[in-house]
Symmetry: C2
DNA sequence: CTGTTTTCTGCAACCGAGTTGCAAAAAGAT
DNA sequence: ATCTTTTTGCAACTCGGTTGCAGAAAACAG
């Protein structure tokens, strides 16, 4: 793990603030090879702790009205490239993002997604791998999207 | 099968034109409960005979430049509602459509789609059904999207 | 600490796909 | 032939995503 003087400084600040999360988030970005800025820290803390499920650029915009949309967009791209997030195409027409679980950098690929057609929330079934199917001769597969559309338990309950 | 006087008239015209396809397409729309108009016939013949694979609104627009985009859009919606077409969400960001095979009205649901990341064409594997996965307690599934992204044989060959 | 270089951010504008309201045109009914 | 209903074309608009550019912030060098 890399450990630079700026991070040490932040650690001291964080201890002073008695805020352990602050250190941890800073480290996460740093470990991912991303330069830590105020905006990025803000965005990361929002997506890490502020959303219970997959979120869209619009969700993030609503949660952080002080930050410009294009900046949020670019930040999401940066995070995605650094494998902090993964993109989900749930067929709602808007790109969704989801935090990659810490333990496994590449867990993001190949799992099933659930989309609720009522509340439009999308969830990851990180532990359910996509079953494979036979492909025609000559096709080379690179990636597979498996999205189950339906009604989530919460929407189901409220009838 | 319904058979109205207008259709008979068109049959006569078609025989005069020695064009069997013409009758057949007209019948298809009529059977689907869709009023037959010049534009709809034009669109149907294009999507039925003019595309080898799934197509987008933009593809249709390019193929039929004389027809307005909004009309094409509404026509596609009409056809989809009448189960002449089915919609495919292949994750390219643009809605695709594909002709439903004649023998089975509901065949459209539940099969696998292939999308080429080079040429952006999308194909139906109508005979490969989507394998199911276990869902969490409380979820009610209505539909499942299974899209394999990769390189199609044609793109693979041209290296 | 100060000046220089590099990166990031906000603004504005743009793009493409999808969508809608409305009036004219076409089709169907009487 | 006339009236009613449906369809079509036009224009405009929405919404999500995206880019160019100039100023702000961060990293770097002295």
């Amino acid at each position: 793990m890399r450990w630079c003087s700026r991070a040490v400084t932040l650690t001291i600040i964080a201890i002073a603030m008695n805020n352990k999360e602050y250190i941890s988030d800073e480290q996460t970005l740093d470990n991912a090879g991303i330069r830590v800025t105020a905006v990025r820290l803000l965005v990361w803390r929002q997506v890490r702790h502020g959303f219970s499920d997959a979120f869209s650029l619009a969700d993030l915009e609503a949660a952080l009205p002080t930050v410009d949309r294009s900046t949020l967009f670019r930040t999401l791209s940066t995070f995605t490239e650094a494998h902090l997030l993964h993109e989900i195409d749930d067929g709602t027409g808007s790109q969704k993002y989801c935090v990659c679980s810490a333990r496994d950098t590449h867990h993001c690929e190949g799992h099933v997604h659930l989309t609720c057609i009522r509340c439009h929330r999308t969830y990851c079934l990180t532990d359910v791998r996509i079953p494979s199917v036979p492909l025609p001769e000559g096709w080379a597969s690179t990636e597979t999207e498996y999205v189950v559309k339906g009604i989530c338990p919460a929407c189901n309950r409220e009838k």
